[in-house]
Amino acid sequence: MSDEHEHHHGHEAPEAVDAGSQALAEALGSSFAIVKVVMLLMVVAFFGSGFFQVGPSEKAVILRFGKPVGEGKGALLGPGLHWSFPYPIDEVVKIPITEQQTVQSTTGWYFTTPEQELSGEELPAGASLNPAIDGYAITADRNIVHTQVTLHYHIDDPKAYIFNFASASNSIQNALNNALLFTAAKFNVDDILTRDVAGFQDAVLARVSDLTEQAHLGIVIDNCQVKSIAPRQLQDVFARVTEARQNQSKQINDANAYRDKTLLAAAAQASAITTQAAAASANYVKAIQADAKAFTDVLPAFEANQNLFAQQKVAETMALVLTNVQDKIFLPERADGQPRELRLMLNREPPQPKSATANP
C-alpha cells in the first residue's frame, strides 16, 4: 500500500518516467527471456545428464532412491547407452565384470615378477624361502610345496555380490588362499605332487565352495585348476624319486612279463609231456592188443606144426628184411669149413679231404 502511495506522489514527469519504465520493462523482458532460456537449458541438462554408457567389459545397476531397479540378474544392464533419472532420484553403479570371472591365489607360490612370468625366465632359487616374498604351503607330513589355484566362476546373485561385499573378488581370493593352506595341511607331499593330484584339486575346490557358500558371495564356481610343484631347491632330488619309482615299476613289469612267458612255456611243455605220454600209452596198448590178436590168430597153425610154422615165418621175415636192408653181403663158407674172419671199418662217412690245395 505504501509503495502505491509513493508511486502516486512521484507523477511529476510522466513522459520521462514512461520512457524509463518502458526501457526497464524491455530490459527486464529481454533478461527474463535469457533467464527462461537458461532455466530451460538447466532442465535439459539435468535430464540429459541421465544418459550413461556401459562399456564392453562392465555392467551397471540403477539405484532408484538407493534400491536396485530390477530383480536378480535382470538388475544388470549390459553394454550400450542407457538412461536413468539424474541424482538424487537415481544413481548408476558400474561394475567391471565379464561373463566369467577369474581369480588366482596369491600366497602359495614363490616370488616372481609379472615380467618373469611372461618371459618364462626366473631368478635362480636361493637356499631358503623368504617369508616376505615367497609363498608356499606346509603339507601334512611337514614338507613345503608351492601350489597355486585358478578359479573360474560366474555371478549368480548380483545383488549379494555387489551390494554385500566391498570387493567380492578379494574375498574369493582370500578363500582360495585359505583353501590351499587348509587342503595342503591334510595331504602328504607325494599325494599333492604325484599320487593324488586330482584328489587334492577336488579337496581345494570343496573348501572354496564351502567358504564362498558360507559367506553368501552369490557366485557359482565353474571350475578350478590347481598346480603344485616341489620347492625349486629340491627339484632334482624329487625328479630322482620319480625316476626311481618309474624304474621300480618297470622292473616289476619286466618281471611280470618274464613270469607270464615262463609260465606259458612251462604249461606248453607240461601239456606236451602229458599228451605224448597219453599217445604213447595208447599206442602201446593198441600194439599189444594187435599182437595178442595176431597171436590168437596164428596159435592154431603153430600148434599144428611148430617147425613148419617157424620156418615159414622166418623165411617170410627174411624176405621182408632183405628188401629193406641197404647192403647185403654174402660170405660163402671157406673150403676148409672153418669160419671166415671178417674185419669191419665202422665208418660210414667217406674221409674228408684235408684241404683243397693239398689235394688239387
Binding site: 538407493g66 616376505a132 611337514r142 595342503a184 630322482r240 673150403a335
Partner: protein, 305 residues
C-alpha cells in the same frame, strides 16, 4: 498466458530439484547412514535403502558408511606354537559396520578418518587373539594327515570367537563376518632345515624304490621259475601215471600170450628182427643163415676138402 505457464512449470521443476538436493538424502543398498544434528548423532540408523528427509547443512549432517563386507588382513607375523616352534601366520577377515550410530560415536569424523582408526583397533584385536590361539596349539594341530587330529578350522574359530567377543564387549558397532588363515609359513632359517630334511627323506625314498623294485622283481621271477618247475614235474608225474595205466591195460592181454609162451617168444623175436633191420642196415650172412642155407649144398667152384 501459455508462455507464462511453461515458465512457471520450468521454475517449479527447478525449485523441486533444488529442494530435493537440499532436503533429501539417499541411502544406497550398500550403505548405512546416520544423521547428526549439530554434530550429535540422532538415534535412528538408516540401514535400509531409500530416500530420507534431512535439514540442510549446517543444521544436519549425514554420515554414510559402506555397509558391505570389507576385507582386511593383519600383518604376517611370527608367534610361538604350544610346542615352542615358530610359526608365521596372517589371517584375513570380512567385517562390516552393523551399527552406524555406535560406530560414529566411537570413531568420530569422516569415514576416510574413522575407517582406518577402526581397522587399526581390529588389527590389534586380531594380533592378540591370533597369538593366543597359535600359542595354545602344537604344529601338529595345524598340519596333520589325520582329519581327526587336524584342528585348522578349530583354531580359526577360536580366533574369530575371541575377536567377536571383544567387539561385542566394547560395542564398536562393527562385527566379523568370516575369518581364516591367509598365509602360514616358517621362519626363513627353518625353511632351510626343512629342505635338508626333505632331501634326506627323498634319498630314503629313492633307495627304497630301487631296492623294493629289485627284490619284488626277483621274487616274481623266482616264484615263476618255481611254478614252472612244479608244473613240469606235475606233468611228468601225470605222464608216468598215464604210462602205468597203459601198461596195466596192456597187462590184461598177458593171459593170451601165456597160452603158448614159445610162440609168444618166437613172435617177439621175429618182430624184433623186422624192426632192427628196417633201414640203412648192412646184413652180413653166410650159408648157415636161413634161407641162404639153400646155397650150402650147391656145387661151387671152391676147392673141395
Amino acid at each position: 498466458m501459455k508462455r507464462n505457464s511453461l515458465t512457471i512449470i520450468i521454475g517449479a521443476v527447478l525449485v523441486l530439484i533444488f529442494a530435493l538436493l537440499l532436503f533429501v538424502f539417499q541411502v544406497r543398498q550398500s550403505e548405512t547412514a546416520v544423521v547428526a544434528t549439530f554434530g550429535k548423532p540422532t538415534s535412528q540408523n538408516y540401514d535400509q535403502p531409500g530416500a530420507y528427509f534431512k535439514w540442510p547443512w549446517p543444521i544436519q549432517k549425514v554420515y554414510k558408511y559402506d555397509q558391505r563386507v570389507q576385507n582386511f588382513e593383519d600383518k604376517y607375523s611370527q608367534t610361538p606354537t604350544a610346542d615352542s616352534g615358530m610359526l608365521l601366520t596372517s589371517v584375513y577377515v570380512g567385517w562390516r559396520i552393523s551399527d552406524a550410530r555406535q560406530f560414529l560415536q566411537l570413531f568420530p569424523g569422516d569415514p576416510s578418518v574413522s575407517l582406518p582408526n577402526a581397522q587399526s583397533q581390529l588389527e590389534g584385536m586380531l594380533r592378540t587373539a591370533k597369538a593366543a590361539a597359535v600359542g595354545r596349539h602344537p604344529l601338529s594341530d595345524f598340519v596333520n594327515a589325520d582329519p581327526k587330529a587336524l584342528k585348522f578350522d578349530a583354531i580359526e574359530n577360536e580366533i574369530e570367537q575371541d575377536v567377536q567377543n571383544r567387539l561385542r564387549t566394547n560395542n564398536f558397532g562393527f562385527e566379523l563376518e568370516f575369518l581364516g588363515f591367509k598365509k602360514i609359513g616358517l621362519p626363513e632359517s627353518v625353511t632351510q632345515t626343512v629342505f635338508d630334511r626333505m632331501k634326506s627323506e627323498r634319498q630314503v625314498l629313492i633307495s627304497r624304490a630301487e631296492n623294493e623294485g629289485k627284490s619284488a622283481a626277483q621274487k616274481i621271477q623266482s616264484d615263476a621259475d618255481a611254478e614252472a618247475v612244479r608244473t613240469i614235474a606235475n606233468a611228468q608225474a601225470n605222464a608216468t601215471r598215464i604210462r602205468a595205466e597203459g601198461e596195466a591195460e596192456a597187462a590184461k592181454t598177458l593171459p593170451v600170450f601165456q597160452q603158448n609162451p614159445d610162440l609168444a617168444v618166437f613172435l617177439l623175436r621175429i618182430g624184433a628182427l623186422q624192426q632192427t633191420l628196417n633201414q640203412r642196415a648192412t646184413l652180413i650172412f653166410d650159408e648157415r643163415t636161413p634161407p641162404f642155407d639153400l646155397f650150402r649144398n650147391l656145387p661151387t667152384n671152391a676147392p673141395s676138402h
